[in-house]
Amino acid sequence: MSLAHRIIPCLDTDGARVVKGVHFEGLRDAGNPVELAARYNAEGADELVVLDIAASRDNRPTFIQTISRVAETLSIPLAAGGGIRSLEDARSVVRAGADKITVNTSAVEHPELISELSREFGAQAIVLAIDAKRHGARWLVHVRGGREATDLEAIVWARRGVEMGAGEILLTSMDKDGTQSGFDLELTAAISRAVTVPVIASGGAKVPSHFLDVFTTGAADAALAASIFHDRVQSIRALKEFLQQSGVQVRLPC
């Protein structure tokens, strides 16, 4: 008996529709979130992430409705986020059916938000999303969808986030995101070894061996990808069969 490594599809949405684009630029429509969620639920995804990448106030009711309709179709856990700025924002996401809340920019600006949410919902419900980019010998945290660099070191921020009550880290490599050249193994391993909570690796996945590498060399507990699943470049089932044959424990639903 041991814990299975998780495969997590991610739906980046504009609130209502799934969109895709490299580094949040050149967005194009990639489908209906409810249909994709149902497909991933059936194909053996271990969890689903739904993000509102527009994250504007006006968009909120639409996004909450999307979460609710996605949650209705799922029998696996759902994490949702994008633009969560307050306890009240988080409550509306949880009420709509999300099991976990992801926070990013607003947590960097107001770290106490992490503690506040963790006290209310428990650490297992708080996912700290970190967008990291290499600057010389260090990885720095970026905010606002990666557009803005901070002087915060990713490892330091990950540790601090966990101390404040995050139960999981969703780590995206800005350098690898959209390149389909594999996960950032060095970054993922560095963060995974620095914190006591599970780490979800994100950015750069294309072929099954990328996932194998991030679970072994990268020491990731879970791996997230979007377009390769949306575009059927990679089926979740075939990916999991490959991982199992390679000696990585995964959940293969019948």
């Binding site: 041991s2 814990l3 696996i76 919902f121 909570v197 639903p253």
Partner: protein, 200 residues
């Protein structure tokens, strides 16, 4: 079939409600004492902090109605924290008394593993579990917790291992508990809830 879901204002009660509805049951959410006292089948979902759940139950005066319903023979299913509160106490909030229906203390999983225990794990099950009827030992269930109940006790129907062994499924007469989230555990989770609905 009517199922009473205890809704104490925290946790994701909606997903439990949806999962039961998919199975054809008629769930109703309540925090009213009289409804809980007279319920035939009760589900107590729970996520978050042990202390918050105990405080919420006591603030609403739900402890006695719940204990009364259970001693009268109502079928009870505690999920995650809902299992943990069946015990006498928890390290997570040692100053607060649990329901005390089971002996022992809930304690934190060891720091030798990443916490929370988050994700899909398998069970080591006993032969004659009512909740796990028709469920294979190859099936995975979704866990999200850092504290867990002791693995000893005649009520153990299945154990799980993560850092140490702990109680994953317990069954004693009309009292049932699962440390994982059946409402988030795909087909095996749905089967487990269906088994609970069928218990007479």
């Amino acid at each position: 079939m009517n199922v009473t879901i205890m809704d104490y204002g925290a946790g994701n009660v909606t997903s439990v409600e949806r999962a039961l509805r998919r199975l054809g049951a008629t769930p109703s959410r309540t925090d009213r004492r009289e409804e809980i006292a007279s319920a035939e089948r009760i589900v107590l979902p729970g996520v978050g902090h042990y202390g918050a759940l105990i405080a919420a139950l006591d603030r609403r005066g739900l402890r006695q109605p719940l204990l009364g319903a259970i001693s009268r023979g109502a079928k009870f299913l505690g999920i995650c924290l809902g299992l943990q509160v069946l015990y006498a106490s928890s390290e997570e909030a040692p100053e607060l008394a649990g329901l005390g229906l089971l002996q022992g203390q809930v304690s934190q999983l060891p720091p030798t593993v990443k916490l929370p225990h988050m994700g899909w794990n398998r069970l080591e099950r006993s032969e004659n579990s009512r909740l796990l009827d028709g469920i294979s030992s190859d099936d995975y269930f979704y866990f999200a917790h850092s504290y867990a109940a002791p693995s000893s006790g005649a009520e153990a129907a299945a154990l799980c291992g993560y850092g140490r062994e702990f109680m994953a499924v317990l069954e004693r007469d009309n009292i049932f508990g699962v440390q994982f989230h059946p409402e988030k555990s795909g087909a095996p989770g749905a089967k487990l809830l269906e088994n609970f609905l069928r218990i007479t």
